[in-house]
């Protein structure tokens, strides 16, 4: 290495590739945990507090789950800028739903808003904040080149200690979605169809201001425990297949 290379700005500030990948993976895991927490909160409100989501709420939930696809791809397939781009697009889609819901309620000064408030803001407002933070965060991570240049292949191919953790998180998120879809199909038959018939439900339903108990939270945590067990079983199968090949 020449003297100019040793003292160049890039070499002074650059991070070792393996550390860059590790830090990037931890950031993506933290994002995934945050999204699981957000979805758990919405499910608690629905099943713990009995507040059915409006159609716009469901659109925002879809955006939140789409937001998780980028970190999942980064962790399982390796760090790529296009994975962050997918999350940005999901945040735009979800943010469109949040914006629509905010505009519906601020257009009328006498409108109290829809659903419970957390620290003075409704959930759709917090959803928009989340989507905006996600867009900014993904944009900043795209600017950080080190993880992309490290040649990360993802935890699916690198059988390290992170693989069962990532598997457990993805299985947890998937189980939460599966259970919600399954229960909601039953709820639809009992409550939505009597309310809306087979047509569209109003996107600005009546206000509900109840807050529920901790039962919903415990249910989501229990699903997390099940997800950890499933992840451990999957990891054991992978290791057995790698040992035999």
């Amino acid at each position: 290495m020449t003297t100019s290379q040793a003292t160049s700005p890039a070499s002074r500030w650059s991070m070792a590739p393996d550390r860059a990948v590790l830090l990037s993976r931890l950031i993506n895991i933290a994002a995934l945990l945050g999204l699981i927490g957000v979805l758990a909160g919405s499910l608690h409100l629905q099943f713990g507090a009995g507040e059915q989501p409006c159609p716009l709420c469901i659109v925002q939930r879809s955006g939140m789950i789409g937001l998780a696809v980028g970190p999942i791809m980064n962790l399982l397939w390796g760090m790529k800028a296009r994975h962050y781009a997918l999350s940005i697009l999901a945040a735009v889609a979800g943010g469109a739903g949040s914006t629509r819901q905010i505009l519906l309620h601020i257009a009328d000064p006498n409108d109290p808003g829809y659903g419970p408030e957390v620290f003075g803001w409704h959930l759709y407002t917090w959803a928009l904040v989340t989507f905006v933070i996600a867009i900014v965060g993904c944009a900043l991570l795209i600017m950080w080149q080190a993880p992309f240049e490290a040649g990360d292949r993802g935890v699916l191919r690198d059988a390290g200690p992170m693989r069962p953790i990532v598997t457990g998180l993805v299985v947890w998120l998937s189980l939460v979605v599966v259970i919600w879809v399954t229960i909601d199909l039953a709820v639809i038959g009992l409550s939505v169809i009597p309310e809306c018939g087979l047509g569209e439900c109003p996107d600005d339903p009546e206000n509900t201001n109840s807050l529920g108990n901790l039962g919903g939270w415990f249910a989501v945590l229990a699903v997390g425990v099940v997800a950890a067990v499933i992840a451990a079983i999957i990891e054991r199968r992978w290791k057995a297949r790698e040992a035999s090949s």
Binding site: P55, L56, I58, V59, R61, S62, G63, I65, G66, V69, I72, M73, L76, W77, R82, L86, L89, A90, A93, G94, A96, G97, R100, L103, L104, A107, L156, V170, L173, S174, V177, V178, W180, V181, D184, L185, I188, E200, C201, P202, D203, D204
Partner: protein, 49 residues
């Protein structure tokens, strides 16, 4: 409307299985999400969104 979430589950499975068309499926699902949003714009607001 619940189809959105079934497709997300397919996306998650596809990521584990390494299906390379999964990003396209995710993009299609986001477009479907926006379509659902547009369909549910049933109440007029002054800004005419």
């Amino acid at each position: 409307m619940l189809l959105m979430f079934v497709v997300w589950l397919v996306v998650f499975i596809g990521i584990f299985r390494g299906w390379r068309w999964v990003p396209l499926l995710a993009l299609a699902n986001l477009a479907y999400t926006l379509l659902v949003l547009r369909i549910h714009m049933t109440d007029p607001i002054p800004l005419n969104f």
